[in-house]
């Protein structure tokens, strides 16, 4: 695939910027539009853009692990965030737990944030797995 130098150069800068943006979207989700789902999609778009500019192999090198590994990790984080209240405080599954004092930058942190991080990882993993698989087979 021929790619322009502009895209190639830009993608190197865009990847970190988009990733930071996706994390930003993920974190602000609790108060403002955003969240793990959209964040995950944006992150995967960042990697896909990178793969368009530099080739799939380069992106895979960058990722080290296959994006499919994000699926169990994300699912585990989301599930454990729901399990935490059961194990720690004997509360029903998925009860929200919250820190008493707000933490710098993040604000008040709760189990919901970890759940959202799980969603973020799963969505990212699913999208990248599907698109990478199909673009390799096509």
């Amino acid at each position: 695939m021929r790619t322009t130098i502009i895209l190639k150069t830009a993608s190197n800068y865009l990847l970190p910027v988009l990733l930071v943006f996706s994390i930003f979207i993920l974190l602000r989700g609790h108060y403002l539009p955003g969240g793990g789902f959209v964040g995950g999609l944006i992150a995967s778009i960042a990697f896909i853009l990178h793969s368009f500019a530099n080739g799939l192999d380069k992106t895979k090198e960058l990722l080290i692990l296959h994006p499919g590994f994000l699926l169990p990790v994300g699912l585990a984080i989301a599930f454990l965030s729901g399990l935490a209240p059961v194990v720690l405080y004997d509360l029903p599954f998925m009860t929200g737990l919250w820190s008493h004092d707000p933490i710098a930058i993040l604000g008040s942190v709760g189990s919901a944030l970890f759940f959202d991080i799980g969603v973020y990882l799963v969505v990212n993993g699913v999208t990248l797995t599907i698109i990478f698989t199909i673009s390799e087979s096509a």
């Binding site: 929200g96 919901a112 698989t133 199909i134």
Partner: protein
């Protein structure tokens, strides 16, 4: 008691890890498991014979009245001893029979779990527990019958057996639920106390039918008998254990167990007498036409089961006694004959009775076992078989009505069974040794000892029936609801009509043995009537079933995505349209709608243009791009109506969709006529109607009085309860977090699915192997 039942299962689980050790020389050690259980159960003999009943109950699902309730009384003790005792011999025998077999550990695993299930079945006092174990015996026997899983015929038999006994299991479940409805309990002991009320209930008839359905399928009564001869494809230890001594008697056990609860009514007794009587005569007659030793034994087993059903149906004190004795008689001689057949098969590699004779010159102990078993099966003194046969005749003779018919049926059956027993137990061991078997070797001790032991037990119990009288027989009669105090077993009953009948039976049967020689001709003769056999009727039904489902699947799921979507939309259109016709008001309150601005009009125009371009363009890529335009226009509309979350998500999704489409389409030809005019017209009409319906639906929803309760709740509580100001996100991660958890799981599964479909294609070698087995299977089917 629970531990005893679970031992079998634990043993098989353990074999997963320790299988390697048991495969080799240590395989004989596996038989210690049933032996230990046998010893465990023998310690109860004295207390049970004193009339005690041992109950154990563990809580399981108390809210449904389901507990792990176990009851050890005469009936369950007899079965438990048979299961563990014969189990021990079969386990030991197997270690020699399947010596060095690649999957010997698996075989023991299946046998172990079968033993556990069978013990659970006969000890359960709760009907649901009974049902669970009942199904477990079906499942474990499926694996045992299909043990030679490279043989298509073996797989087919396993499937037939599973199908028939599985249906029976459903009958049992339905019966359990119905009885629970009538009696208000799942406990069989509690049902015992309200037998009157159950028998008077209007659903009594149905309950009896369901229990019959379960018992007749499991115990291979006509017309469900055919799975049993098929199950003879299993290795011989399985046939011995499952198909003579234990599993097939589960149905008999069920009938006996429920005799005091449901029995005593006309429908109960008459049905059992008719079904049992017909089965015993029908299959005893069939033994004449078999040349395969196991075939002869299979049919004579069905016949014996028929006798037991028949005796249970007679319902008298004497009949119960006869049934109790006959269970032991049959278990002893039939297990012996099966084991002997296994040895013959193992040493000579044939079970064809026409080619077997004179083997006593090579394997005398086996011959002795076979001959003793045949004598017991024939009811010749001094074996226990004689005692059993006398009691059976006596019971039929003293029945209330139709004595003549019953007597003729039972005597004929016994004559034919005598013939079958002689063919299986005596024929191979008498006469001249054929040339082809002159090199046959004597089997090892571990192989010939079990059948010999069983055969000798048959004689010992016959000479001294008092050994089992009070220990086993009396408690069984008691648990069937009879009065056991008057029972006295003896070899000699005095010279009376029954004794004369016995003499006739032995005389005619022996004559029959010398007149009729098993031959291929007879076997082929009966094969002509196969077309009316229940087995073939079922087979035809199955073929029809497969044909219809093939047609159905090919029609609806032909592999074209467009067809799936068309069918789904068509279905929705018909369904929703049907509901909406007559229920739609078409009243739009224009005042409630917000003003339309120029932005919305422009966006909508772009959207419409995008749709038309998608439909009419000649290039795939252009169509995809136009689809992207449509998606982004929708994003804009979301923005206008202040749904930023939706807009963001839709935007990202749309971008990714376009990328995906491009990736997929990249390799396809650039230009193609996508579909012809007619198809487009059809699809156009369908999608227009669908769009109209959705629009109408949306408008209808708008004109409904709005219920805001749910929305208000989330809006009011999202910050207080969940510390979040973005209600949409709070709903996703907190209020309805469990939904999201499941959704991301589904997403992951989809990703794994795509990965699996594209990447993990079958390797060429595996594919060829798969095709080969398919091919050989088809050929096999054609032959049949």
């Amino acid at each position: 008691m629970l531990t005893a039942i679970l031992t079998g299962f634990l043993f098989s689980i353990l074999l997963i890890f320790a299988g390697r050790f048991i495969k080799g020389k240590l395989s004989i050690l596996a038989s210690l498991v049933p032996l230990g259980l046998f010893v465990y159960f023998t310690q109860f003999i004295s207390s049970i014979s004193n009339g005690e009943i041992i109950m154990r109950s563990y809580e399981w699902i108390p809210s449904f009245g389901v507990d792990l309730g176990f009851k050890l009384d005469g009936l369950s003790l007899l079965f438990s001893l048979m299961i563990t005792g014969i189990g021990f011999l079969v386990f030991a025998y197997t270690s020699s029979y399947l010596k060095g077999h690649e999957y010997l550990d698996r075989f023991y695993g299946y046998l172990g779990s079968f033993m556990g299930a069978m013990l659970g079945l006969v000890l359960s006092d709760n009907m649901i527990t009974l049902f669970v174990f009942w199904e477990l015996t079906s499942i474990s026997s499926f694996f045992l019958i299909g043990f030679n899983n490279t043989n298509p015929a073996s797989r087919k038999s396993a499937l037939t057996a599973l199908g028939i006994t599985g249906i029976g299991g459903l009958f049992l479940l339905a019966g359990a639920l119905l009885l629970n409805n009538i009696a208000g309990t799942y406990s069989i002991s509690e049902m015992l106390t309200m037998s009157e009320a159950i028998r008077g209930n209007e659903f009594y008839f149905l309950a009896v039918l369901l229990i019959f359905g379960a018992a007749f399928t499991k115990s291979a009564q006509f017309p469900f008998h055919f799975w049993l001869p098929g199950a003879m494809k299993a290795p011989t230890p399985v046939s011995t254990y499952l198909h003579s001594a234990t599993m097939v008697k589960a149905g008999i056990y069920l009938l006996m167990r429920f005799t005091p609860v449901l029995g005593g009514e006309q429908i109960w007794n008459t049905t059992l007498i008719i079904v049992g009587g017909f089965t015993m005569l029908y299959s005893a007659f069939h033994t004449i036409f078999r040349t395969d030793l196991k075939g002869v034994l299979a049919y004579s087993t069905i016949s014996a089961l028929g006798i037991l059903v028949f005796l249970t149906g007679l319902g008298t004190q004497e009949a119960f006694l006869a049934a109790a004795v006959f269970i032991i008689v049959h278990a002893l001689y039939k297990a012996t004959l099966f084991l002997v057949t296994g040895i013959i098969d193992h040493q000579t590699h044939t079970r064809d009775i026409t080619r077997l004779s004179g083997l006593n010159k090579i394997m005398l102990p086996v011959g002795i076992a076979g001959i003793l078993a045949a004598i017991s099966s024939a009811g010749i003194p001094p074996t226990l078989g004689f005692v059993g046969k006398e009691l059976t005749y006596e019971a039929s003779y003293h029945s209330e009505s139709l004595v003549i018919f019953l007597m003729i049926a039972i005597v004929l059956t016994k004559i034919l069974l005598l013939y079958a027993g002689f063919v299986a137990g005596i024929k191979p061991f008498t006469g001249k040794l054929p040339e082809e078997h002159s090199n046959v070797k004597m089997p090892g001790f571990i192989m010939w000892a079990p059948p010999l032991l069983l055969a000798i037990l048959g004689v010992i119990f016959g000479v001294a029936p008092f050994i089992i009288e009070s220990a086993l027989i009396k408690p069984v009669v008691t648990s069937m609801g009879g009065d056991a105090s008057e029972i006295h077993l003896a070899l000699w009953h005095g010279f009376n009509l029954v004794f004369i009948l016995s003499l006739i039976t032995i005389g005619v049967g022996t004559a029959l043995y010398f007149i009729i020689k098993p031959s291929k001709k007879l076997e082929e003769g009966i094969a002509k009537f196969d077309f009316i056999a229940p087995e073939n009727i079922l087979e035809k039904f199955n073929k029809l079933f497969i044909m219809i489902s093939n047609f159905w699947t090919n029609f609806f799921q032909n592999g074209y995505l467009r067809n799936y979507i068309s069918i789904i939309i068509l279905f929705l259109v018909v369904l929703v349209g049907y509901i909406m016709v007559g229920n739609t008001r078409f009243a739009i309150d224009y005042n409630s709608l917000s003003k339309i601005t120029v932005y919305e009009i422009t966006t909508t125009l772009i959207l419409i243009a995008g749709i038309f371009y998608t439909v009419f363009t000649q290039s795939r890529l252009a169509a995809v791009a136009a689809m992207g335009v449509v998606g982004l226009s929708i994003c804009l509309i979301f923005v206008f109506y202040s749904a930023p979350d939706l807009a963001m998500t839709q935007f990202s999704i749309d971008t990714l969709t376009v990328i995906l489409f491009v990736l997929v389409l990249y390799k396809l030809p650039k230009y193609l006529k996508l579909s012809d005019y007619k198809t487009r017209l059809r699809d156009g009409i369908l999608s227009t109607i669908f769009g109209l319906i959705i629009t109408t639906l949306a408008l209808e929803v708008l004109s409904e009085p709005v219920s805001k309760e749910v929305g208000d709740f989330y809006a009011a509580n999202s910050y207080i309860e969940a510390h979040g100001k973005n209600v949409v996100n709070v709903i996703l991660v907190d209020f309805r977090g469990a939904d999201t958890l499941i959704e991301i799981s589904v997403l992951s599964i989809a990703a794994v699915g795509v990965f699996g479909l594209m990447k993990l294609r079958l390797k060429m070698k595996d594919r060829r192997r798969y095709a080969d087995t398919r091919l050989s299977e088809e050929n096999e089917n054609k032959k049949q």
